[in-house]
Amino acid sequence: MKSLGSIRRSFAPWADPSAKPYIVFENITKRFGDFTAVNNLSLSIFEREFFALLGASGCGKSTLLRMLAGFEEPTSGRILLDGQDLRGIPPYKRPVNMMFQSYALFPHMTVEQNVAFGLKQDGMPKQEIDARVADMLKLVKLTQFAKRKPHQLSGGQRQRVALARSVAKRPKVLLLDEPLGALDKKLREETQFELMDLQQSLGLTFVVVTHDQEEAMTMADRIAILDKGEVMQVATPAEIYEAPVSQFVANFVGNVNMFEGKVKARNGEAATIVGGSGAEINVVNAGEAAAGKDVVFAIRPEKIKVSSKKPAGTNAMQGEIWDIAYLGDMTIFHVKLSDGQIVKAATMNSSRIAEDPLSWSDQAWISFEPNAGVVLSR
């Protein structure tokens, strides 16, 4: 899998302005009666990309997937697949296949017949079907279960049958609706990597809908964060996490501390922000925020250091240890600052015994580097 890793690292067609996107959502709006599920949304997905649509329930992510599969038609706008407008093409003529959240296995057919169903619809010769089905079952390690009915399988096995059935036709695009939602945590983690390997080895474009940010971060090349039918940000997992473009995105993915303040002075890209308590925060890149503007400084807990003595450097604030959550691999400190704000700071427990033990109600300092957080508009 080493070689796949290096392919993956260099895979970034979205950064190449000459690359042609494979799937294009163009100003898509979808209304159900008075409810607007998707609002004037545009999005491009590239060939062989593992793309995740991430959002809370009701954000329009499933509707987007169903429009791509052909179960819903957009109210306005168009969807292009490899340059072809999909409007009016029924689901059974689209070169995409979907893996359903409920798996939707046909209960009256065996595993084998389920996997063969799509191939039969294409009128493939029986021998070829048999060979392909055998291949698929081998791929998902279900060969000895070929003659079983879905109700004779465990949840994880059903998930794999659904996967085998949806990739059996070698679709250009595989759509996955909450593919791991019904599995328990351990199985879900294993299956994430299996899905990634499968996507790489078959060279397919995957579009996955999920509400689980960890799942999206692990698997996807790029993530689109959706809210109320609109795209909040499209970027790689690292960009989403380290450089969120809005408070919504910063809050949605992972934990974050927000400091409200005003830009006091700018020095090129760098700036100084004054918080409500009068504490100053120096940042290396304040983006577009001009001097005098109200902003929010967002910083992840693991980028904040906690110490009992005043640290050297610029960004340091004093407070009191309010709460300690020991998680084994790391400890989360809740530090109450003088203005009452509680700041979360995560420390890796890299040695077994802390050199500088901090306890409840201790006076402590928090500090961070000038490039550790982002400045967002308010």
Partner: protein, 272 residues
């Protein structure tokens, strides 16, 4: 659980069963009566069964009943299934409330009224009463029962099965025959059996809708009983009871077995 039976419980069970089954037991016993007098026991005999099969009028009526039952149940199942599909799938069409009201009205409509109105219709359009009109009448009144049975299954039907089939390249028609129909088939079969049973034992509507040459078994039995109960009728009724009992017991055994097998399979699957 309390396993000791109080006298009160025993008494109420005995009385309850007696109330339900004593008439039937009497009928069965007297069907084996050697005497021609219905209420006087004259020794065991099966001669009434022999004469029953030689009674052409009764056998004709039985044959008519079966043909009417099979035909009307089949058409009622097709129409009822279509109605159920329309009612569960197209929830927004114009006149849906009216349509569902009209489909289900025969469930609560007194049979006399259904029969009379059908009779008036047949007379008005000049349709000669006979085999065809009984069958049509039975289709009309059993269709709603099929629709109810099939609809209750369709409500819990997972639509994503159909979407999956279409996603895999099946046209809507193929999807219906390859996925929807097999999945709801048990409900359709129960609907058919219900319609068949209702048609078998209908007397009121058949009396209105039937004409000469198309006498059903219930009509025949009823008219003969008015001339006096003969042991032959007892024998005919005993056979009907036997058929129904065997059918019901067989169906429930098959269902039970399937259920148990399914549970075992699921437990086995969960264990890995």
């Amino acid at each position: 659980m309390n396993t000791t039976w109080s006298r009160f419980n025993i008494a109420s069970i005995v009385l309850g069963f007696a109330f339900l089954y004593l008439p039937i037991v009497l009928l069965i016993i007297f069907s084996f009566n050697a005497s021609k007098l219905v209420t006087v026991w004259g020794g065991f005999s099966t001669k009434w069964y022999v004469s029953l099969f030689q009674n052409e009028a009764l056998m004709d009526a039985a044959w008519v009943t079966i043909r009417v039952g099979v035909l009307s149940a089949t058409f009622a199942t097709i129409l009822g299934t279509m109605a159920a599909l329309a009612l569960t799938r197209y929830t927004r069409f114009r006149g849906r409330v009216l349509f569902s009201g009209m489909v289900f009205a025969p469930l609560v409509m007194p049979e006399v009224i259904t029969g009379l109105s059908l009779l008036l219709l047949f007379v008005a359009i000049g349709l000669d009463r006979g085999f065809l009109t009984v069958t049509l009448a039975h289709i009309t009144f059993t269709m709603c029962f099929v629709a109810v049975v099939v609809q209750s299954r369709l409500v819990t039907f997972d639509r994503s099965l159909e979407e999956a089939a279409m996603d895999l390249g099946a046209t809507p028609v193929r999807t219906f025959f390859a996925v929807t129909l097999p999945v709801i088939l048990p409900a359709i079969v129960s609907g058919w059996m219900l319609a068949f049973t209702l048609s078998l034992d209908d007397l009121v509507i058949a009396s209105f809708a039937s004409g000469p040459g198309a006498t059903t078994l219930p009509m025949k039995i009823y008219s003969q009983v008015r001339l006096g109960v003969t042991p032959e009728i007892n024998a005919a009724c005993t056979l009907l009871i036997a058929i129904v009992t065997v059918g019901v017991i067989a169906a429930s055994i098959v269902n039970k077995r399937r259920e148990v097998q399914r549970k075992l399979d699921e437990q086995a699957a969960q264990r890995g």
